[in-house]
Amino acid sequence: MDYGLLVMGAPYSDPAPHSALRFAEAVLARGHRLTGVFFYHDGVHNASSLMTPPQDELNLRKAWKALNERHGVPLDVCIAAALRRGIVSEAEAARHGHSAYNLEAPFELTGLGQLLTLQQRCDRLITFAS
């Protein structure tokens, strides 16, 4: 089956990203395809490349990145939710006159339409929020 995940919880303040990651690994272990992960609402903070947890704790951004590298899972971030929370790519930082950016590949800023596309392409879309 084709699975998509919608992640709406912030890292470290909400268990949703941890649950979503563990679910993603289990989906792949059962032989399904993970068509994409869409980060929305506070879930966009998962994409911050400035995330610096203590070294003995899981770095959630790196864990999502590893999922992309190992399985080619697209990591889409809602652009409207991200910009208003200060999660910006290099291009958006230039457009809005910011001196820094904190969203890099493999995360990509996309519109809500991408979530609808993901939903249409998947047999199952599972939401993680709390």
């Binding site: 949703a16 649950s19 289990a26």
Partner: protein, 96 residues
Amino acid sequence: MTLHILTTAPNSDPARQVEQALNAGDTLLLIEAAVTAALDPQLNCWTQPAYTVWLLEEDLVARGLGNIAKKHRLATVNMDGFVALTEQHEQSVTWY
């Protein structure tokens, strides 16, 4: 048949809302803070016969509630079982 995934503790607003939404034959999966429902075997979700209820094992163990779920003979699934439930249900709703 719908899989309802509840992430919040009993007596929270989402927990009350999901009770209203559950139909006969549906499945309720308790994850994250919702697994604290294992502490009270008198809760409606454990005593009603209409829908099936599962607790996510990893979240129970993380909160030190694994033994209490066993003691009350409450049904648990691991993450692999969570995925299996989503395979069996075409629709899922997360309550948060």
